[in-house]
């Protein structure tokens, strides 16, 4: 069995690959390569190595179909988003998510519609907590 390397986070390139795999659901190295923009000009072997690293890190699992490895994500995009946000909040915002949200609201010009959605989300959360 291949040795697992503990790393909770994805590098930039790995995130690009995972994003494509989340969209595909599952796929081979060639499937993922086909989804990447043509200007990336990535060698097949490099892609295969990146997928193998993702497998070692435990972000994907693989099964063999004939001579091809088929990869599927072991965690959802939402789970990874939560993990990254928690890390960002802990490291950059001293563990205070409110500061993170405040900075987000300040920096991005959110539309009225988006603000309404956030408000609705907070109301729903408050109602859930009350019950």
């Amino acid at each position: 069995m291949r040795k697992r390397k503990s790393n909770e986070f994805l590098t930039e390139v790995e995130l690009e690959f995972m994003t494509e795999l989340w969209k595909l659901g599952e796929g081979s190295v060639r499937d993922i390569l086909a989804c990447l923009p043509p200007e990336r000009k990535l060698a097949y072997t490099s892609c295969a190595t990146i997928m193998r690293i993702l497998d070692e890190k435990g972000f994907v699992e693989s099964r063999k179909e004939g001579k091809t490895f088929i990869y599927s994500p072991r965690l959802t995009r939402d789970t990874y988003q939560s993990r990254s946000l928690r890390n960002l909040s802990e490291k950059l915002f001293d563990g205070t998510p409110a500061s993170l949200v405040a900075r987000l609201v300040d920096e991005y010009e959110l539309s009225e519609d988006e603000l309404e959605k956030i408000r609705a989300l907070l109301d729903r959360r408050r109602t859930d907590d009350a019950t």
Binding site: K5, N7, T11, E12, V13, E14, R40, K41, L42, A43, S46, T49, I50, R52, I53, E56, K91
Partner: protein, 386 residues
């Protein structure tokens, strides 16, 4: 003389020889620069490493020479000793100081050594504590660095294996670097470089050249010596020269190879520096950086009393663009290197303690005794009888 005295004497001798070796190298460097700095960097690096090997061998040569002198295989007239030479110069009137002061000057090193080894209050204990504390600090730093490097290598993903060279991919490495164990060599590549196939090829060529040059072994050797020579400024001069020349020699060799475009190589160095600097800003990456005992593609971290990474990179690119370096025939080079080797060996021999009482030393001792006999009459205000 106790074993501790002998070891400490050897330590002092090594420090003096290192200083002289560094001065010899700096003089050669000045000469090279005067002739237009056209000597290939790999030749310069070879000379530098060769001189260090001669320096490391010098205590053994001195010991062998002393044995040959004692066994009278080498005639006593061929004895090389700085203090014997100074005594003979004094007796010929070349040094105009009172005999007792001169004797005191000759015995200065022995007195200082004694004071340090017996932990004499004040100077002796101060120096001994400074040496011990410095040794402990740099030895701990070295061990920590090896542990950190080992951890970093363990956290890497194995990529390929070429003989005993293991290619590893790292999420944390700021820049590509080479390291080694007892038998294995490692080349660590930041994993994001996988997607830059052209840069990857150039970086691998560069790192393989480091392995061919034996730069990692030299780096480890020098780092192992740091706890011993931490207070010697010439050690840092030497280290900085090795670091400078090994990169220049490596760049030159890689760009001389077939199919390597000079401009692409320079751009690759710039991109690697940019990427390293970007990662350096990430606190996690900084904590995980390998530090010492490894040879990196380039530096991205500022170091105390050293040129900034950007200055170093600029010099490398300027050196790369300055083509037309020559490699002299080994026989010419040997002729060139022979005087340097001679200076180092003669220094190592001349700073040894004289093995026996020479005629000149007996004469000096007699003069001092006569001076002392003179003194009471001087105190009485009478001139001694001649």
């Amino acid at each position: 003389m106790t074993l501790l005295n002998q070891v400490f004497d050897l330590y002092i001798d090594l420090n003096i020889t290192l200083a002289i070796t560094a001065v010899v190298w700096l003089s050669v460097k000045m000469m090279i620069a005067r002739f237009g700095n056209k000597l290939a960097f790999s030749v310069q690096l070879g000379l530098l490493n060769g001189l260090f090997a001669i320096f490391a061998l010098s205590p053994f040569v001195a010991l062998a020479y002393q044995h040959l002198l004692v066994a009278e295989v080498v005639p006593p007239v061929m004895s090389v000793n700085l203090s014997d030479y100074a005594v003979s110069q004094y007796l010929r009137g070349g040094i105009a100081i009172p005999a007792e002061d001169f004797q005191s000057l000759l015995g200065l090193r022995a007195r200082v050594t004694e004071s340090i080894l017996t932990l004499a209050p004040g100077f002796g204990i101060g120096v001994a504590l400074f040496l011990l504390a410095g040794f402990a600090y740099f030895a701990t730093r070295l061990v920590t660095s090896f542990v950190r490097l080992h951890r970093m290598l363990s956290a890497c993903h194995s990529w390929r294996r070429l003989g005993n060279v293991h290619l590893l991919l790292s999420d944390w490495a700021l820049v590509p670097f080479s390291a080694r164990g007892l038998t294995r060599h490692y080349v660590v590549i930041p994993s994001d470089l996988l997607t830059e196939s052209e840069d990857l090829k150039l970086v691998l060529k560069h790192e393989f050249q480091h392995l061919r040059q034996g730069d990692v072994a030299w780096e480890i050797g020098l780092e192992l010596l740091r706890p011993l020579f931490f207070w010697n400024p010439f050690f840092y001069v030497w280290k900085s020269e090795v670091e400078r020349l090994r990169e220049l020699a490596c760049d030159q060799k890689v760009t001389e190879g077939n199919g390597v475009d000079l401009k692409s190589y320079c751009m690759c160095l710039l991109r690697a520096a940019q990427s390293g600097l970007r990662k350096r800003q990430d606190q996690i990456a900084r904590e995980q950086s390998s530090g010492i005992a490894a040879v990196a593609l380039l530096e991205v971290q500022d170091r105390l009393l050293r040129r900034s990474p950007s200055q170093k990179l600029r010099r490398r690119i300027e050196a790369l663009l300055d083509t037309g370096k020559f490699r002299p025939h080994w026989s010419v080079l040997s002729l060139f290197a022979l005087p340097m080797v001679a200076v180092i060996f003669v220094t190592a021999l001349s700073i040894q303690k004289p093995s026996d009482w020479s005629q000149d030393r007996i004469m000096l001792s007699t003069i001092i005794n006569l001076d002392r006999m003179d003194r009471p009459t001087n105190l009485l205000g009478e001139r001694p009888l001649r």
